[in-house]
């Protein structure tokens, strides 16, 4: 079983850039540019041809999405924070598309911790700004000594831990999805090679298996009995693939379609939920910082 789990590959290095030294173009950066182009194209397409009455279906979908985001931000933060709606929407859309782009086989930039740390740093700057605006810089520094002044290091650590935990939660979920998908794929490849290697080692065995599967399949089809038809059809398909393997067209057939089932949870559900949670925590922390 050979699994290859790596970080982001470095695609190109620019040496001797003035002021920065050496600049590296990694896969994360390149795919992030691609996602920026995709989102820009989506926005231009959705925002073209808008009308006041007699709206098209495309405009109805765009308005539905817009209302969902606005109600989400206003529900969490109240209407006086309307200027943060673009920020929350950007983080949400970028996160969802970055998480789901791994379904197309492209390296997802959120599997690199630096992407999430950048978003968390933006949120941390906003939280600190609102805390200073609410109680002044002296009040902000005095807030660290709040219950007892011995708790100063613990308060500082808990303040720094907020953005780090937001980033690591998102990163950990996406990375674990990527790793588990790679492991499932490798395990199915090994199982497929073993199964079709054994079944397809001689043409006689493969043909016998196919016939053994076709007989109950045909009987079940004629008599409309599913309990005969489905196992028979499965064994017949395995037999046909074993014949193909014997004739030279070897391929890990078990990897077609079975990995889609765990990826329903790890890629679709987990990716969308983590984006939603990042945005919820952003709104809640900013509201809490400004409301003190």
């Amino acid at each position: 079983m050979e699994v290859s789990i790596n970080g982001a590959r470095i695609l190109h290095t620019f040496e001797n850039v003035p002021l920065l030294g050496s600049v590296q173009i990694t896969q994360t950066l390149a795919v992030s540019w691609l996602i920026m182009v995709i989102i820009t194209g989506l926005c231009i397409w959705l925002g073209s041809g808008l009308k006041v009455t007699n709206i098209s279906r495309k405009q109805a979908v765009a308005e539905m999405g817009y209302n969902a985001i606005v109600n989400f931000v206003r529900g969490n933060m109240g209407p006086e924070f309307d200027r943060y709606i673009p920020l929350v929407c950007t983080i949400f859309i970028t996160s969802v598309i970055s998480n789901l782009i791994s379904l197309l086989g492209i390296w997802s930039p959120t599997a690199d911790l630096m992407t999430e740390l950048a978003w968390a740093l933006v949120v941390f700057v906003l939280i600190t700004y609102h805390k200073i605006k609410a109680s002044g810089i002296v009040g902000y520094l005095r807030g660290f000594l709040d219950p007892i002044f011995i708790l100063l290091p613990i308060n500082v650590m808990s303040e720094c831990f907020t953005p780090i935990s937001m980033a690591c939660r998102h990163f950990g979920n996406i990375l674990s999805g990527t790793v588990i998908s790679a492991l499932i794929y490798a395990a199915l490849t090994a199982a497929s090679n073993a199964l079709f290697g054994a079944l397809g080692s001689s043409l006689v065995i493969a043909v016998i298996v196919t016939v053994l599967g076709l007989v109950p399949a045909v009987i079940g089809f004629r008599q409309k009995k599913k309990c005969l038809l489905i196992p028979g059809a499965v064994v017949a398909i395995l037999g046909v693939l074993a014949i193909l393997t014997n004739l030279g067209a070897a391929y890990p057939w078990l990897t077609l379609g079975i990995p889609a089932i765990p990826s329903l949870y790890f890629d679709w559900f987990s990716g969308c939920i983590q984006a939603f949670i990042f945005c919820t925590l952003t709104t809640l922390f900013i509201k809490q910082a400004a409301g003190d």
């Binding site: 789990i5 935990s165 690591c168 939660r169 990163f171 950990g172 979920n173 990375l175 674990s176 790793v179 939920i273 983590q274 939603f276 949670i277 919820t280």
Partner: protein, 92 residues
């Protein structure tokens, strides 16, 4: 005497044992999320018409409390896949 092989062996053993210990962190979210789901079922049983709200709040709470389990999982992954390479480079 050349202790390089012994040193490499000890480093790899440490990585493996550490990875196993790191995944003990999976106990916490298991107990907590089971608790959360149990109370959600209880509340839905008492008041069946609030099923949608309770379910979405439960999913939000579960995804947040999954955090520490994910921390342990990522530590275990790093110890298995990344740390041996680093240690072998360091020890030659």
């Amino acid at each position: 005497m050349d202790f390089t092989v012994l040193a490499k062996g000890i480093a790899l053993a440490g990585c493996a044992i550490g990875a196993g210990l790191a995944l003990i962190a999976g106990i916490g979210p298991g107990i907590g999320e089971g608790n959360c789901a149990a109370r959600a079922c209880e509340v839905i049983g008492r008041n069946p018409e609030c099923k949608g709200d309770v379910t979405s709040s439960m999913i939000l709470g579960i995804a947040l409390s999954e955090t520490t389990g994910i921390y342990g999982f990522v530590t275990g992954l790093l110890l298995i896949f990344v740390a041996p390479g680093m240690f072998m480079n360091f020890l030659g």
